[in-house]
Amino acid sequence: MGRYILKRIGYMCITFYVVITLTFLSMKMLPGTPFQNPKLTPTQINQLKHYYGLDQPIAVQYVKYMWNLLHGDMGGSFQFGNESVTALLMNKFPVSLDLGLEAIILGAVIGLLLGIIAGLHHGKAMDWSTMIFAAIGTSIPSFIFAGVLQYFLGVYVRAFPVAGWNGPSYHFLPVVSLAVGVVAEIALFMRTEMVEVINQDYIVTAQAKGLSRFTVVYKHAIRNALIPVVTILGPLTAAIITGSLVIENIFGIPGIGSQYVSSIVTNDYPMIMGTTELYAGLFILSIFVVDILYGVIDPRIRVSGGQA
């Protein structure tokens, strides 16, 4: 297990390094410049370039960037008067994390419940309705749900605030919009696992021991069905990040998602790089955690030394 974890950490570092380098290089290849203000004279632009170190050879800039990054310095934002990117991200990240976690937790709880119920009622009305919901939920993008919810519950019924992030009531619409996809994805996966597990011989063994239906389902079926569900947490994190970009924008939430979109529009290179690296880091970390977690909760992998 130890060796396996080390190997995974190695991969994680390489992937992260590649992301940083790619981000850096693509920023250097960008056709537009952040100094497009027509009032700026060429001398002023050159002064700005010198100030940000953009007149030096790319290799030098690269080494400098990496060195600073190692010290947690991602440079200054162009659009916010050279304010530290690190500080900006640190400032806005908790909001996005809050939104993402709430959506994942809500989605996982409802999704697992639906999946379990559907799986236990395989082939019946409850199963079919869950399947139909899941087909719709996984197909329709979160920004459509967001629009529908915002219009009906926010504008029309006025049950919830339309935009902002100032208290619990503000969380409802964006969290639900983001969670619908998660619910559908997890419900579908859990249902398939449940149906498969329920038909396993060891479920009959458990029944033959005289255990109650509840114990059989709870201790034998659900536990075994739950293990593979862990594997979709990685892709789900990616989906949540993607979704949060638009959801934060639609609901005017001051997180890194809406920040990212505005830095793309304003060519704020350091901010784009910082956010990209943060997202990549999150994703890589989530894949790593899922891998390790899977090894920890599945005894078959745990003991045989993690041949995942």
Partner: protein, 335 residues
């Protein structure tokens, strides 16, 4: 079960002539994998309906932008933000050209009908919506085809040759897939500037990975099976084995995966429009239409409704077709 003894006559104890071939006959006709798959697919009502819906949408997307009287890019501020009106159906609440109880058409003295209304610049949304659908579909289909091309080649080489080649290709892929596709797509578009081709390239940049994984897996499984070994021992070359045996046998999975990459591409195109990296005005895509509709969602919700509805229909229909195909090709997976 009890038979009255008198019903049983002595003659009945003579040996019976029983046709034993009857017992050995295999019941049911023998069908090929493909015929079988088609038969199963046709039984799937949802998937059939989805095919019908997709065909209808494609037909409209191809024909409307050319046949309609309005140019999708023609602006006329006098007719900006008109709600939908279909004179023949004016008794339907949302097709009567009224907004907040006021007949906007009458107010502005406009005689023509705009079935889906108009946008802020007075462009006809009926033709823009279908034009947008066309662009979204083009992007999705090209992306799916490129997926097949790259994914099958990469996965095929990796799976067929195995060993060192496989090891190197897999390590590269592991790193590529370790980066969230969002990051790839955004970086690529930033470098290339938004447009139909860059968006397609960006979407394909990561989506081929799942295809290559599937193809590699099936190559590895198939290449050691007896019929392939038999072909090899008869002197068939690599190309022949790959194209005659391996690809035809993985075709089902390739088709299924292609079907799923179409809705994924439609989604990402729309997503990019949302973060300002999509198709630029005056061109339209479903994503860009929804995005500009959102700016006036509270005042003129109809501007979002039609493209929103279309994108939902397309995504659900393609996913259902994909599910139907998967079940048809691999009945084991059907639950």
């Amino acid at each position: 079960m009890a038979v009255a003894n008198q019903d049983i006559t002595k003659e009945m104890f003579l040996p019976a002539e029983i046709d034993r071939t009857e017992n050995e006959r295999v019941s049911g006709e023998v069908v090929s994998v493909w015929k079988d798959a088609v038969r199963r697919f046709v039984q799937n009502k949802g998937a059939l309906l989805s095919i019908f819906i997709v065909l209808l949408i494609v037909l409209l997307a191809v024909s409307v932008p050319y046949s309609h009287n309005y140019d999708p890019t023609h602006q006329d501020l006098n007719r900006s933000n008109l709600p939908p009106r279909v004179s023949a159906l004016s008794w339907v609440p949302f097709l009567n050209g009224q907004e907040d109880g006021i007949d906007v058409y009458q107010q502005r003295g406009i005689k023509k009908d705009f079935w889906f209304g108009t946008d802020q610049l007075g462009r006809d949304l009926w033709s823009r919506t279908w034009e947008g659908t066309r662009i979204s579909l083009i992007i999705a289909v090209i992306a799916a085809l490129v997926d097949v091309l790259i994914g099958v080649t990469y996965g095929g080489i990796s799976g067929y040759f195995g060993g060192l080649t496989d090891n190197i290709l897999q390590r590269i892929m592991e790193i590529i897939s370790g980066i969230p596709n969002l990051v790839w797509i955004i970086l690529l578009i930033l470098v290339m500037k938004p447009g139909l081709i860059p968006i397609t390239i960006a979407i394909t940049a990561t989506s081929w990975i799942s295809m290559s994984r599937i193809v590699r897996g099936s190559m590895m499984k198939l290449k050691n099976q007896e019929f392939v070994l038999a072909s090899k021992s008869l002197g068939a070359g690599n190309a022949r084995i790959v194209f005659k045996h391996l690809i035809p046998n993985s075709l089902g999975m390739i088709i299924v995966n292609t079907m799923f990459s179409i809705p994924a591409a439609i989604f990402f195109e729309a997503f990019l429009s949302f973060i300002g990296l999509g198709i630029r005005d005056p061109q339209a895509s479903l994503g860009s239409l929804i995005n500009s509709g959102y700016e006036v969602l509270q005042l003129h919700p109809y501007q979002t409704v039609y493209p929103g509805l279309l994108i939902c229909l397309l995504l659900i229909a393609f996913n259902l077709i994909g599910n139907g195909l998967r079940d048809a090709f691999d009945p084991k997976l059907r639950h």
